[in-house]
Amino acid sequence: MTKVLSHLVVLMAGDSGDGVQLLGSQLIRAAAQSGQDVRTLSDFPAEIRAPQGTISGVSGFQFQMASEAIFDPGDAADVFVAFNVAGWIKHQHKLKPGGLLLASIDGFDARSKSTAGLEASENPLEEAKSNFQVLEVDFKKITSEALKNQSLSGREKSRAKNMTILGLLTWLYGQSAPAMEVDLQRQFQGDLAAANVLAFRAGYHLGETAEWTAFRREVPQRKALPGTYKTLSGSQAMALGLAAVARQLGRQVLYAGYPITPASEILHELARIRPAGVLPFQAEDEIASITAAIGASYAGNLGATASSGPGISLKGEGMGLAVMMELPLLIINVQRGGPSTGLPTKMEQSDLLQALYGRHGEAPMPVMAIKRTGEALDDVLLAAKIAVESMTPVMLLSDAYIANSAEPFRLPDPEQMRRIEAPKADIRRAPYARDEHGVRPWIVPGTPEGMHRVGGLETEAETGNVSYDPKNHQSMVEQRSAKVQAVTRFYGPLSVEVGEDQGDVLIVGWGSTYGAIRTAVESLRVQGHAVSHLHLKHLFPLHPQVIPFMTGFKQVVVAEMNEGQLVQVLRSQTQQVIHFLGKTSGQPFASSELQAGIIPYISAS
């Protein structure tokens, strides 16, 4: 009898050339398709081809599949697939005691040990046997045997090794082999497809032949919401969001970007899917990309741009210009570890204060954060709606974690998506005349008799002409600020993710920590604690209810991936004591580590 589990966490680690990410995405698609909920975590080196076999070159992929809705990729792994010894050494602490280590032994030979920095005398597999169940498999040999009659190069054959592993994992974890084969055949062509399927079958049959039935696990299917799904990463979902904006706005979106990890993926995805109404433009640098986007917005498109780390800093001057001219603009910041080049492939939420305050002058601008891939499309639409309907730049924060983590994404019904209505190009109104929300008309070049000039010099109220008048400046600073404060009219009601509106402890988070916080809070609640989870989508202006809401709790703890940024913002607005849980290791919070961090506040309350 196959053992049934409600959750299963699998961690795969190997060389960045081993195809770990590909194998992972293949498996999660199968799992999602067969009805399990899935969340993932990718971890790759910053180098394209990091030295082979070294610890720094390890690429990891973790996923959790479950028979109920889940929100994070899980903490400790039930199963560890080690492609090589370096992968095992780097991540071995993540395998649960008694968990299964599936070791591809060709990656544990003397040479692999030496490149991973081990002494010849060390034997990590033997050591592992005292804590874990270990299956040593010569996937290399099995693969080459399966492919001995194929006319492929040795290199291609050895690359098929991950297909053999895929086959075994498919058998072990109850996925459908025929469906997987169809998928492989769609993905590869000709000889390669045939070889991959052969390798896959060899792996699939291996378990049976070797009588490993005792290791098989089954995660029951759950009832997902009806709809059409596909697996998408956060960045792919954001690209789809931009496509949705063009549709809902009825105007072109000019997406101008300059390559930078991890923001580039949005540009790649737009170039690949080529949605109607979204023109992708690779500019000469980040300054050009934001200023081209500003030009496009002046001309009646919605200008959009994305960047990360240093690239966002370069865009600061452009944001100030868009604030001054009061043009709509969408800036996506896919945060990464900083400062400077920092940790380009790792996650961090350390750009919040920059997003809120990192501009010269009084330059208020709405700031939002995406909390999960499943909401990315709607968040992009909402950010664009605020930008256009309030004639303001908006920054939308994402990060390396959401950008790369794939999950089953329920496709929206286009007819049900948010509408965006551009302010009319009404030339009877002055270019900087304000409506009841403080919003000016969007009179675009080409509009007969609408001629006016915009620019970075202080604008005169109403006319938009240059003005150095002290009273005008004071008033315009206030008007721009009031206009941005008024965007709270677009916000929904404030509601907790889990828990009650009052209690002992409130955990406040924002952005991609959503899954880990929610999972931690849910387990604490199962243990009987009165903990709630509030996750902020709007970082500026804050939802007007946030500060009053916090007073319903004895302890408030902000958990974020930085040295304390949101917590500073909240502290500046209330006398209430607010605690802080932070981390800047480049690795996301594990829910267990959050639980451990929260428990002292529960006992204190």
């Binding site: 009806p226 059409t228 109404g277 433009f281 050009a288 030009g295 496009a296 080409g446």
Partner: protein
């Protein structure tokens, strides 16, 4: 019919009295009238500097953007709406120092905008520091002992960047300036126009020998496509090319038809002209080439894009009932 005056906005012009920018504004608005521009389709984009104040004074759409970034802004506008008549106004510091990168990329892409660079060999707006076009040894606020930098040559830079139209004119020759501006607008693609402009406050007389009526004929060559390259009070001198060497010859010795015949379409000869940075310099159209225009190509390439519904359906989807 609109006149040049109709193209002036109601804003008070605030350049220093005597500044060369006044004449350029005047010729610019007259050219707009001359070519029958539609003010509601016209967009004037600038960076930051004295020169870059110009859009405020023109009765059209306009943006006074960021220092150096006007080429990127203009590119965005053209990608948004290729049918707009966009002009770009910049200064030597704006275009060649802080914005050098954007200038290069606008030129190589061949974005459909005339780029009018007001060269006064000084930073005017920031009150007189040397600029990238200032000659070596230039004494300025930031170089009281004379500058050390080797100056940039805007013409060879633009040609090297892949410009498809190169021209030079000056503030003090209205008819010539109007002619060059009109030609730059007629060009399909980026038209690079360097305009010698006198900053009478911080660098007075920088181009005197070329712009002053008394010395002009001996120092300024007014190029005409297909015509021999001649200059001098009575057009008594001509240029010849010996190999790649430019030589001045008195026309007493040979006839004009034996001189170098100006060919706007020859990039090598354009380079030779562009390199004339001493006391004898060419004005008019140095070079012209036909190359597809960036924004048109981008839009053509994006013709068969996918509808949102098609994009949703891409890739491997599955349905849960």
């Amino acid at each position: 019919m609109m006149t040049g005056k109709d193209f002036l906005s109601d804003q008070e012009v605030r350049w220093c009295p005597g500044c060369g920018d006044y004449s350029i504004l005047k010729q610019f608005t007259e050219v707009l009238a001359l070519i029958g521009a539609d003010p509601s389709q016209t967009v004037v984009i600038s960076g930051i500097g004295c020169a870059s104040r110009l859009p405020y004074y023109v009765n059209a759409y306009g943006m006074h953007s960021l220092h150096g970034r006007a080429p990127a802004v203009a590119t965005g506008i053209k990608l948004a709406n290729p049918s707009l008549d966009v002009w770009l106004i910049t200064g030597d510091g704006d275009a060649l120092s802080i914005g050098g990168n954007h200038l290069i990329h606008a030129l190589r892409r061949n974005v459909g905008v005339p780029i009018l660079l007001f060269n006064n060999e000084i930073y005017g707006l920031t009150k007189g520091q040397y600029s990238p076009t200032s000659r070596s040894g230039a004494v300025s606020k930031s170089t009281p002992l004379g500058s050390i930098d080797h100056p940039v040559n805007p013409q060879t830079l633009a040609l090297g960047a892949g410009a498809t139209f190169l021209a030079r004119s000056m503030d003090r020759h209205p008819a010539h300036l109007r002619e060059v501006l009109a030609a730059s607008k007629a060009h399909k693609g980026s038209a690079f126009v360097e305009i010698y402009q006198n900053c009478n406050v911080f660098h007075d007389g920088a181009f005197e020998q070329f712009t002053d009526k008394k010395s002009q004929s001996d120092h300024a060559i007014f190029l005409q496509h297909g015509e021999p390259i001649t200059f001098g009070t009575n057009l008594d001198h001509g240029l010849i090319l010996e190999g790649s060497q430019v030589k001045v010859v008195p026309l007493a010795e040979r006839s004009a038809s034996e001189c170098w015949i100006h060919d706007e379409r020859d990039p090598m000869k354009a380079f030779a002209l562009a390199r004339m940075t001493e006391d004898l310099r060419p004005f008019g159209i140095l070079y012209r080439e036909d190359r597809p225009v960036f924004e048109q190509q981008v839009h053509a390439a994006h013709q068969n894009s996918r509808s949102f519904e098609e994009v949703l359906a891409m890739g491997r989807t599955w349905t849960v009932d």
